[in-house]
């Protein structure tokens, strides 16, 4: 099972994350924390495909966007409560992922990349043009935050803890998924698909199921996104959004559980904090990304682990 050392590390990290609002001082940083967690969930969902499945997608924003739009629309136009709307939206998003998965999995590698990009662009185009339903460029607004079991999520701190709870559930579920026999078969299909078939595995089905699971968790991120912002616009479905998510996954470390969180923190912090000091933070982000792709292709988390291991062994503590 999970070793005591890993468990202790996870507990420490959980406590650190839980302490953020207490340490942060003002709402601005607490909200930043919420944004990081939402982005992290989104990146984790993409990581199932990219890191563990070996399928690079540039259309993942579709699931965040559809989930967010569906929630807002169902709440506004159908008068559903935010949680009920969210549950329906999640179902719709999962069905979308099931459909898109059948199309996208006709190809692999660059073909897959392009199909996912095209499928994402179709939805972006719809959000932009179908003004009657989506509000076009203005988007949909006025969605109230839910109150699960009477818990008022209006304040920054309350919403942060809500996001943290959802993040924790997602982290645990995806962690179990990745460590399970199914997860092992997904990783195997990533590494040697032909060998996996020879061993009796239905590689297409493994990939399709993973695609749907990935879309589901992307939809969960979409729910948090629209609850947090009380607003959704076509930008959430854009190619830029999908590209940013990919950036987070690659930078943090694909095929690691914490990589997406690290990548999300990197991007969000650069966007909001660094931008106050460095005007050209996007330029910097792009440069950092290219540097990671060249020098640390496994991402920041494994890179840091390697440095830590080297440092630890040099200090005579014995490497990992």
């Amino acid at each position: 099972m999970i070793s005591p050392r890993v468990l202790a590390r996870l507990a420490a990290e959980a406590i650190a994350l839980a302490a953020v609002p207490l340490v942060a001082g003002n709402d601005y940083y607490v909200n930043l924390g919420s944004q990081v967690l939402i982005a992290a969930i989104f990146a984790m969902s993409l990581n199932i495909l990219v890191g563990y499945g070996g399928m690079t997608s540039l259309g993942h924003a579709a699931y965040l966007g559809v989930s967010a739009y569906a929630t807002a629309w169902l709440a506004q136009r159908m008068g559903m409560g935010p949680l009920a709307a969210g549950a329906c939206a999640l179902a719709i998003t999962t069905l979308l992922a099931a459909f898109y998965g059948v199309l996208a999995l006709r190809a692999s590698g660059l073909g897959f990349l392009m199909i996912t990009l095209a499928l994402g662009q179709i939805l972006w185009g719809l959000a932009y043009r179908w003004v009657a339903v989506t509000g076009g460029d203005n988007g949909l607004s006025g969605l109230a935050r839910p109150a699960p079991f009477g818990w008022d999520l209006g304040s920054a701190t309350a919403f942060y803890y809500f996001s943290l709870a959802v993040f924790g559930i997602a982290f645990a579920a995806i962690g179990l998924f990745v460590g399970s026999p199914f997860g092992a078969s997904l990783k195997g299909a990533r590494d040697q698909p032909r060998r996996m078939r020879a061993l009796g595995y239905n590689v297409w089905l493994i990939r399709w199921i993973s695609f749907v699971v990935s879309g589901f968790w992307g939809g969960v991120a979409g729910l948090l996104y629209v609850y947090y912002n009380n607003f959704i616009s076509p930008h959430a479905l854009s190619l830029t959004q999908s590209a940013e998510a990919l950036l987070m996954v690659i930078a943090g470390g694909p095929a690691t559980l914490l990589g997406p969180l690290v990548g999300a923190a990197l991007v969000i912090v650069m966007k909001n904090v660094v931008s106050a000091y460095v005007e050209r933070w996007t330029l910097l982000l792009g440069a950092v990304f290219v540097a990671i792709v060249i020098f640390l292709p496994d991402g920041l988390v494994p890179g840091a682990q390697r440095l830590w291991a080297r440092w630890a062994s040099r200090r005579g503590k014995g490497g990992r």
Binding site: S185, D191, R197
Partner: protein, 246 residues
């Protein structure tokens, strides 16, 4: 008794060039069959057609009496077919034991289970160790596959095939690239496989392969030119023709 493998008039062309040109073959259950032929004769293509990695243009493949030509490779594996490949394509990021566990899972329904950790399955770990002991790799079970020697990788591949308790085992040049010692140990391993596994092997006509074979099929330009017992094939004039150049 039903033949383990029954191929009838199998054909496959690539862009007009026939790689497999009307091959028919019957392999009895428990038999040890060797397939030889010059390079480019279509031996691996034939294996790919049997395992499903390639779809035949025409002809039939029957596994223990059941027509499998329309089935995917994983479906054929589920019916008791296992194979090794010429180029080793195992899982370098995993340990040798984990590679074997992956093979064992392939035929069980628990491979679909998405929640409980695989690491918890002690039964799988123990069975993997047993299989690895059969091939002499127990000592290196926890070594990452990438760190294993070429001979160890070959033996691991065979272990993975055996771990699935196959009825028909296809071996594509299992002795290639091995040192004398490694070759001897793999040979012994193959000879120790019980008779409930039918073995078809592609190899070069080395003494080791010839000694192992009961019946030999000689392929040339995608067709069977000679077939028979070892003695018959070795003595046949066409065999010598093909190898010394017609």
């Amino acid at each position: 008794m039903t033949a383990a493998l029954s191929i009838a008039d199998l054909r496959k062309s690539f862009g007009g060039l026939p790689a497999t040109d009307g091959v028919s073959m019957e392999i009895a259950a428990g038999e040890r069959r060797l397939i030889i032929g010059p390079n480019g004769a279509g031996k691996t293509t034939l294996f790919n057609l049997i395992s499903g990695d390639l779809r035949a243009d025409s002809g039939s493949v029957r596994l223990f009496g059941e027509e499998v030509g329309h089935l995917r490779p994983d479906q054929r594996a589920q019916r008791g077919l296992a194979r090794t490949y010429q180029i080793i394509t195992l899982f370098p990021r995993n340990t040798i034991a984990e590679n074997v566990i992956l093979a064992m899972l392939g035929l069980t329904p628990s491979r679909w289970q998405p929640l409980l950790p695989l690491a918890r399955r002690r039964d799988l770990r123990e069975r993997a160790r047993e299989v690895l002991a059969r091939v002499g790799l127990e000592a290196v079970a926890d070594r990452p596959l990438a760190a294993a020697s070429y001979g160890e990788k070959r033996r691991a591949e065979i272990a993975m095939a055996l771990a699935q308790d196959p009825r028909l085992l296809l071996l594509d040049e299992p002795l290639a690239g091995l040192s004398m010692e490694e070759r001897k140990s793999v040979q012994a391993l193959l000879e120790a496989i019980p008779r409930d596994v039918t073995i078809v092997m592609i190899e070069h006509d080395t003494d080791a392969a010839l000694a192992f074979a009961e019946r030999i099929t000689v392929l040339h330009y995608g067709t069977v030119i000679v077939e028979g017992t070892r003695a018959e094939v070795v003595a046949h004039p066409r065999t010598r023709e093909v190898y010394l150049g017609a």
